[in-house]
Symmetry: C2
Subunit: 180 residues, 2 copies
């Protein structure tokens, strides 16, 4: 019987992960987690040594440098704190995915970039050249999409590698489907 | 160490395959073969028992019932022959994928449907509910796409399952990139 890619290098799957948009919930978004679980259960399965996961978290710089009401009277020190907080949140997010991958025995790498998520993801795909990019999406209808834009649609169109976008299931969708 | 989906059912990947558009070449299109090879090498890898491939070939009925110049003077008998020929071509196409899967030890099923490929693929996804749909695409630029339309774009937008569209590599692209 012929063998399928047994000797080839591992399949490198990039996962773009983001924070939940739910106020006061500094964890990975529902759709990021769905995309991760889908990749584990449907693609990697028991073949943990055949894959490497590349987690990219893109932090969006706040337009005004503040992200809550306390920051209105910000000093340079507050900016430093904000930046440190941002970094902590980003690392915390990646820590979740890295820890789970490690527990399952799947090799991984994770890093944070700042900027516009859709642009940064495409740029990182070009640089890192994964075999597949997996992005979560909220599965919004066309009306809602007009207002919120979707990173996944942009990536499907513009990234220079195969892209699969994983919708949240109906039972995971929060009361306000724009939340994630 | 935790296990990743070891006990779960196999991952069912649907592959939409079509005939080459190159005149007198009654074989699978370049992009169908690329999508198949990508699935074997990057997803299934050595885990041949973890996956099942579902090959769907959608035959487009000719607008006028003819597909070459000899058919201009068609009798009902010629229509029968055309239909039989169509069926033979469809089966021949599927035979290629089924034989290769069998040689590699990957379980598969294959079937032919008639109709508009994009509509039929979405309909079959709804009926069969695969975990992933893989479609090949020619990787045409926006200008060429206006004239030829692309099945893959439609599937990414409308199919009710995760979809990944695999572009032909530059070295596989024929002289006329609209050919496949």
């Amino acid at each position: 019987m012929a063998s399928v890619g047994v000797d080839s290098e591992v399949t490198r799957i990039m996962l773009a992960v983001n924070e939940s948009s739910i106020k006061g919930y500094p964890h990975a978004s529902i759709s990021s987690k769905s995309a991760f679980e889908w990749t584990l259960n449907k693609i990697i399965r028991s073949n943990t040594s055949g894959f490497k996961l590349l987690f990219l978290h893109v932090q969006v710089p706040d337009e005004d440098g503040f992200d809550d009401v306390d920051s209105i009277y910000a000093s340079p020190e507050d900016f430093k704190n904000l930046n440190r907080k941002d970094k902590i949140n980003g690392s915390h997010l990646l820590e979740y995915f890295v820890n789970r991958s490690h527990d399952l025995g799947v090799a991984c790498e994770a890093w944070v970039k700042k900027g516009d998520p859709k642009e940064v993801i495409c740029h990182e795909v070009k640089r890192v050249q994964p075999d597949l990019l997996v992005v979560g999406c909220r599965g919004l209808g066309p009306f809602q999409r007009v207002f919120v834009g979707t990173v996944s649609e942009f990536c499907v169109k513009h990234c220079e590698c195969p892209v699969v976008s994983i919708k949240r299931s109906a039972e995971e969708t929060p009361h306000d489907p724009v939340d994630d």
